[in-house]
């Protein structure tokens, strides 16, 4: 039997509207509800991670002043802060949150292809979060091995949480990966199989492209983390020696022989580097759509943007060992990985040019989402350029393991994606809630967050150039570190606490606005399908009786000859206002 596309079988599809509160909001199979569940959970753990970073900053500014921050506590805060931010917040929020909400709506689908599995994905994710948080309450507390969990120390005495904490961490990661896989298969299948009529791949909004490629990266990269988590669990519990060589543990010979700690690092970073792009690519996609919409201009170089996303995704699998230049691996690998790493700068730079060129000759509305996008471009330029230092093997040598690294990765995969998260939440808030947020409060939130964050991370780079190592509980008397560096640490801490407190504005705005004034179904005049749902906010099934049909790409803003300054994707061609179609670029 010949294959019939899902969009052409819509009439066979019976929608079972949920009727009870439980099926509607708790055991929901609706991608929009699941997206909100994912997002709220991710933001909740994100706040915990933010509080942990506040504790770290207190210790760094005022060493040994707080009896609740001993060295072991500090390293536990460092570890759990990093792990939550990278995995349980950003990965979950971009893919489980935005991926879930936007893919079916932007592709013109009724829902994800496997709604039940989608629901399961969230609940398993929640389980992984609970396991992670449980580790705060077990003997010894959570692991303090650093978010990279390097063996042998992760499972040896001398590291906080080396008995219970590390096992719970590894189990939680395993459970998270199960959740991610169920969600991820859904996102990929939905993008490939459930797009509505006319929505060709080259007409998809860049948000979907970013999330789609990021999900593929995740499906290929997370298994490396899963096997290394399993192998380390076996090393720690039944005494295998995958990563454990014969060493001394608290002065006693251990029972292992011949394991390779560097093998773990290869596996970890084979996951860990694509992970950077699992977070970055959705951010790239979302920011492209928000920029185009609020600049009332087509995204510049759409096809190049798509291919850049694909190229970055592909290259991200052959650069992992740039995290390991000083790990003790064969130093000759440095030539290869420095080259691949700097090559990846080219498509990344092209994306930045195209964002700025999208603003060029635009009609820029400086609303809150646009401000966050501009903030993102600035911090991403900064973070991207410092990446060229660390990617170039010999330049990395003096900077590796210093605060330069901390400054770099927070700028590029902390501040930048988070600014996009805020841009996206403000941009889609009217769609998700049907209400409009408070613009003034949003602007203050932007200014405090953007300027505050820059004042945290810019100086950190210079501490690193000075040679101040990262992951130090305190510096004690160290000859080459001047007093002024400690003064800077105090300043950074004040900025960090200020930025953390400023987030209250965001939460107040989000909650208060739920009772605020109703929003228009398409307040920004956006072209993409999610703004064309028959109900506002969209109901279960998204599209009412029939699916939309797409006639154009997602960037027909300010088309010459058109009546309005945007043409929605599902509006048929109008004579005299022919837009560009990446499907038929030459007309």
């Amino acid at each position: 039997m010949a294959y019939v596309a899902i969009a052409d079988r819509d009439h066979e599809h019976e929608l079972h509207d949920p009727h009870t509160f439980i099926t509607k909001y708790v055991w929901s199979q609706d991608h929009k509800v699941i997206a909100i569940q994912y997002s709220l959970t991710a933001i909740f753990v994100g706040v915990i991670a933010l509080l942990l970073s506040g504790m770290m900053r207190l210790q760094l500014a005022f060493p040994d002043s707080f009896s609740f921050i001993a060295p072991q506590d500090y390293y536990q805060f460092v570890t759990i802060h990093g792990m939550i931010m990278v995995i349980y917040l950003l990965t979950a929020l971009f893919l489980g949150g935005f991926g879930n909400y936007l893919i079916p709506l932007m592709c013109g689908s009724r829902d994800m292809v496997f709604p039940f599995m989608n629901m399961l994905s969230y609940w398993v994710y929640l389980l992984s979060v609970i396991i992670l948080l449980t580790s705060f309450f077990v003997p010894g507390g959570p692991t303090g091995a650093g978010w990279t969990l390097y063996p042998p120390q992760a499972v040896m005495q001398g590291t906080p949480g080396s008995s219970w904490g590390i096992i719970l961490m590894l189990v939680s990661l395993g459970v998270f990966i199960v959740a991610f896989t169920m969600g991820g298969l859904n996102y990929v299948t939905t993008v490939l199989q459930a797009r509505c009529k006319g929505m060709t791949l080259m007409r998809m909004p860049l948000s979907v492209w970013g999330i789609f490629i990021a999900t593929i990266l995740g499906l290929l990269a997370f298994p490396a983390l899963l096997v290394s988590a399993i192998m380390m669990t076996l090393d720690a519990t039944i005494g295998t020696s995958f990563f454990m060589p014969a060493v001394l543990e608290a002065g006693m010979q251990n029972d292992h022989e011949g394991g390779s700690p560097i093998l773990f690092q290869h596996l970890f970073w084979f996951f860990g580097h694509p992970e950077v792009y699992i977070v970055a690519l959705p951010a790239f996609g979302l920011v492209s759509d928000i920029l185009a919409c609020h600049a009332r201009k087509n995204i510049f170089g759409y096809r190049q943007m798509v291919w850049a996303i694909v190229a970055i995704g592909g290259l991200s699998f052959i650069v992992w060992a740039h995290h390991m230049y000083v790990s003790g691996m064969d130093p000759y690998f440095g030539f290869f990985f420095a080259t691949t790493t700097l090559i990846i700068a080219v498509p990344t730079a092209i994306k930045v040019y195209n964002w700025v060129l999208t603003l060029y000759e635009g009609d820029i509305h400086l609303r809150v989402p646009m401000l966050f996008c501009i903030g993102f471009i600035f911090t991403f330029i900064h973070g991207g350029l410092t990446g060229l230092f660390l990617g170039n093997v010999v330049v990395d040598l003096p900077l590796s393991d210093t605060y330069f690294v901390v400054g770099h990765f927070h700028m590029v995969m902390g501040v930048s994606p988070v600014l996009v998260v805020f841009a996206a939440i403000y941009h889609w808030y009217p769609k998700i809630t049907g209400k409009m947020y408070n613009e003034t409060m949003g602007k203050w939130h932007f200014w405090f967050t953007f300027l505050g964050a820059y004042s945290i991370y810019l100086p950190m780079h210079y501490l690193g150039i000075l040679g101040v190592p990262r992951r130090y509980f305190s510096y004690g008397p160290t000859e080459f570190i001047p007093e002024s560096a400690q003064a800077m640490n105090v300043g950074i801490t004040y900025s960090a606490l200020f930025v953390a407190a400023a987030q209250i504005l965001f939460f107040v705005n989000m909650f208060m606005s739920l009772r605020g004034k109703k929003s228009d179904p398409n307040p920004w005049g956006a072209t993409t399908l999610e703004w064309r749902t028959p109900q506002h906010p969209p109901k279960h099934g998204n599209w009412g009786p029939s699916l939309p049909t797409v006639y154009r790409w997602a960037y027909d803003y300010s088309v010459p000859g058109a009546a309005k300054d945007f043409i929605s994707q599902d509006e048929p061609a109008a004579p005299g206002a022919e837009g560009f179609d990446p499907e038929h670029p030459n007309g």
Binding site: S65, S67, A70, P71, Q72, Y75, G144, Y150, Q153, G158, T159, A246, V247, L248, Q253, P261, A295, R296, K297, N298, F300, G301, R303, Q304, V326, G328, A338, V346, A349, I350, L359, Y360, E361, H365, L366, I374, F378, I381, H382, L385, L388, N392, V394, V395, L397, P398, D401, T402, L458, Y462, L466, R470, R471, G476, P482, S484, Y557, S558, F580, P585
Partner: protein, 465 residues
Amino acid sequence: MFVAIVVVLLVIGSLIFHFASPWWFTPIASNWNMIDTTVDITFWVTGIVFVLLNLFLAWCVLNFRHKKGRKAHYEPENKKLEIWLTGITTVGVVAMLAPGLIVWGDVVTVPDDAMEVEAVGQQWHWTFRYPGNDGDFGDVDPRLISVANPFGMDPDDPAGADDVLVYSPEMHLPIDRPVKVLLRSKDVLHNFAVPQFRTKMDLVPGMVTYQWFIPTVEGSYEIMCEELCGMAHHTMRGEVVVEQQADFEDWLGSYPTYAEVLARAEPDAEAGKMSYMACAACHGQNGEGNPALNAPKLTGLDSWYLKRQLQHYKSGVRGSDPADALGMQMRGMAMTLVNEAAIDNVVAYIGTLPDVPVVATIEGNVDRGRDLYQTCVNCHGAQGQGIWAMNAPRAAGMSDWYTANQLRNFRDGLRGANPDDRYGRQMAQMAQMLNEEAEINDLVAYMNTLGQTQLADANAGRRFE
């Protein structure tokens, strides 16, 4: 409009910060000037891009912000511009990568005439080994590591006999001579980094890694561990002293070779008994201590620890600070031990004395003490029994008033402040966490609860080398 101005101000501010802030590389003390050059090139290329892109961004926002009647220009693609931008970016990347790879070629090529030194990392100390006259290191095996053989030397390998063993976190190097530092770890990952030399490399248990450089400036530099290695990672410091060849040779000659370590005479406890008569006046006939005379209990202490402290007193590392009157008193007594053998002998005699339980004199909040002790446990052991491999002496079952005094001394800089007291310095850093008087009492009160019988077991067979 405001945002455009802010972006411009941020660019200017970043440049001012870059040029005006006092934080820059430490003055270089090795041959790796080329590394600094590649950093400079990278700063120029990325700096120009940073300024141009952000100024263009600000200009766009300023110029094309929404006004009534403005319409955006519809331009989906511009092939020519896109090709140009890709080309220019590629040129910039090559300008950074090419010199980087050339210098990396030097970094991975160790000169044939480089002298070899081995830096051994362990939680949370450094020790060093020099290959001796034959230029070859003897085999080592982590399974052979013990109190008597902390390097894990293989006694059957003749190449090891002339290896010079420096069991101290201090390494010396001759100036202007290429050196290849072989890196070995006994337990977890560590990293050997000297900011003034610019290079660094991880130590990986189970394998030997390396780095090379030529020290070019005389002086002493701090070795930082820059790979997270457990909860005392930040206290894992060492020192490298760069000096003239002759000074280096003198220094190296002051350390024993492995053969000399093996040939050392067994200490003579009988001879030590004679010397101990002087100690007995304060510390008691059986080394049980006497609080009235401020003399702590000695029995039950590991011999390596007693020996190190006696040496410290003798050389003035301990007991030279006028603020530490009791320490000065002890220093005078330690001077009567004429040489290393005399110290060994008296330590051996103390080892023959019975370990009698002490009477607790300090009370405090045991629960809070238990929490505080979590910071101490990794070195001093769950029972406070001390762990030789961590260079951590027994902490429980000793004179508690003395322990409390020493914690205070460590915290307040009366002990561990001397730069040559390398292990004391670590403890001083740790003692900073005791910021209330009551915390010291709580901690010591908890240590008083650690079982003495278990203590005796834990130390059985350990006390004597």
